[in-house]
């Protein structure tokens, strides 16, 4: 799926929370259509990194360019950027006061100025795609976690995003619901979407990833294609991490 056109580039990115350095000299490039999986121990800066890519956090040094837009505080193009870059959160963050259909259509209606009828038709199309068309008129708290997360994916798709960021999308789910969400993500990967996924689901990573990234203590330690990553990673820390999570 992947071609050589670079859609995301981060150069020497530093990020501080107070005096704590969350990211240190991070360099990363993502090509159009590339599926990247980022893993690493908790607190290693994985979430911070992807949150910097759509301006939910702002980096303190270095440069991040996403789809030709430079991400920085107060950028006038942030709104444009966020329409290009969808984000799926660990805690779903659906809007509890709106129905599922409204959750999906409010972005297109209010942000992209699409008509209500068109937005709802599109919302139903994407609900179909995440396999829950029958839930359109319910409220989020009436759905299971797995269904809510699929709605959240559909909400991002409704914005016609070109890049999707996933921040531990299955970590808050009951085990029996993880697969229904991963299945949708695999289908999405097959459709050619550029995806960056922070996850510990290594089965999923093996199946879809073009590139594996291992982070530790705010640094990128290893970047490799999955064949190499899972069998012969260069760094010792990465080997140890993999042996810990793959043993079970």
């Amino acid at each position: 799926m992947q071609n050589d056109e670079i859609i995301i580039s981060a150069t020497n990115v530093d990020k501080f929370f107070g005096t704590f350095q969350a990211l240190t000299k991070v360099n990363l490039t993502v090509s159009k259509g590339e599926r990247m999986v980022i893993c690493g121990p908790s607190g290693s800066g994985k979430s911070t990194l992807i949150r910097c890519l759509n301006g939910l956090e702002f980096h303190d040094a270095g440069e991040i360019i996403v789809d030709g837009i430079e991400v920085h505080v107060g950028s006038k193009e942030l709104k444009t950027l966020r329409q290009e870059v969808g984000m799926v959160f660990q805690q779903f963050n659906l809007f509890p006061h709106l129905t599922i259909l409204e959750n999906l259509s409010i972005g297109p209606i209010r942000v992209r100025g699409v008509s209500k009828a068109e937005a709802e038709a599109q919302a139903r199309k994407y609900l179909e795609r995440v396999h829950i068309p029958e839930q359109a008129d319910k409220y989020p708290n009436q759905l299971s976690g797995g269904q809510q997360q699929r709605v959240a994916i559909a909400r991002s798709l409704c914005m016609e995003t070109r890049i999707m960021l996933f921040d531990e999308p299955t970590s808050a789910l009951d085990p029996e619901m993880i697969n229904e969400v991963l299945d949708v993500m695999v289908e999405l990967a097959d459709s050619g979407m550029t995806m960056i996924v922070v996850t510990h689901e290594m089965g999923f990573a093996r199946k879809v990833a073009d590139t594996m990234v291992f982070m530790e203590e705010g640094r990128i330690v290893e970047v490799a294609p999955p064949e190499k990553f899972f069998t012969a990673p260069d760094s010792e820390r990465c080997k140890m991490f993999l042996s810990q999570i793959l043993e079970h």
């Binding site: 444009t80 966020r82 984000m87 805690q91 809007f95 209010r110 942000v111 992209r112 991002s156």
Partner: protein, 267 residues
């Protein structure tokens, strides 16, 4: 099964509760009545109804108390609308993250909260009044609006802060501006948190509107004073005025709790 002693059972029974309540209310009324009796007070309750309404050859007419009540309600409603507007602006300034906005909001809040409402009313009527040509009614509305606006801004602030930060992030990540996130996502959700304290504030406002009687705005309390200066029935009139306030504020509380229930069911 837990053993409950007869004494505890007696204390917890609803019959006992109602009995105690009647006993307390009864003693208060009895104390007031005998007190008034012993000072030779001449009760004239029969003269009260005409202050509510009269039925004569000219037909039905509202009495002075009802006219005063309408004025109080008008005053309260206008002042409340103003207070909500001021409260929202102050809360948004405070949450804006702008240093100047925050300073203005906090300065306003501390100023208004820390001077007596009576002094604030004098400021509006005797100081700003002549400068800007405000009449008593406008000065009263501004005073009540500003005073309660400060209190309401804190209700807004708490209500907005109670919405999880993930809702902001989700709004931003689908490209919404801060204004859109407030309007479509955050404020509708914070209504649920704001309704109960807001009811308290409306009741508080209706009650504190009585203060404008000191600058002779013709509302309920002023009317009461006027009737007393004509008739000397201070006991009957003040009891009556208190009861009218009580009816209004209770009706408001019950009304809002009804709305609140409906709202939570819909959620």
């Amino acid at each position: 099964m837990v053993h409950i002693s007869p004494l505890t059972r007696f204390r917890r029974s609803p019959v006992t509760a109602v009995g105690l309540y009647l006993l307390v209310v009864g003693s208060i009324i009895w104390a007031a009545y005998t007190g008034a009796q012993s000072m030779g007070y001449n009760w004239q309750w029969y003269r009260i109804p005409k202050y509510f309404y009269t039925l004569s050859d000219d037909g039905f007419q509202w009495g002075e108390i009802m006219i005063g009540l309408v004025k109080t309600l008008q005053l309260s409603a206008t002042a409340f609308a103003l207070a909500v507007l001021i409260g929202l602006i102050v809360a948004l300034l405070r949450l804006s993250g702008l240093v100047v906005g925050k300073a203005v909001a906090v300065g306003f809040l501390e100023f208004v909260r820390n001077i007596p409402i009576l002094v604030l009313l004098y400021l509006f009527y005797y100081v700003l009044g002549p400068i800007f040509g405000l009449n008593r009614y406008t000065a009263s509305i501004l005073c009540l609006g500003v005073f309660h606006g400060a209190l309401i801004s804190e209700i807004f602030r708490a209500g907005i802060a109670a919405v999880p930060v993930g809702q902001w992030e989700a709004s931003k990540s689908i490209g919404m501006s801060t204004g859109q996130a407030y309007r479509y996502i955050v404020l509708p959700q914070s209504v649920r948190f704001m309704l109960p304290p807001m009811t308290g504030e409306v009741v508080h406002l209706v009650k504190s509107s009585a203060i404008v009687s000191v600058i002779a705005v013709a509302e309920l309390t002023t009317i009461g004073r006027n009737i007393i200066s004509d008739t000397y029935m201070s006991f009957e009139i003040w009891f009556t005025i208190a009861a009218v306030y009580l009816v209004v504020t209770l009706a408001l509380s019950i009304g809002v709790s009804f709305v609140e229930k409906k709202y939570t069911v819909e959620q």
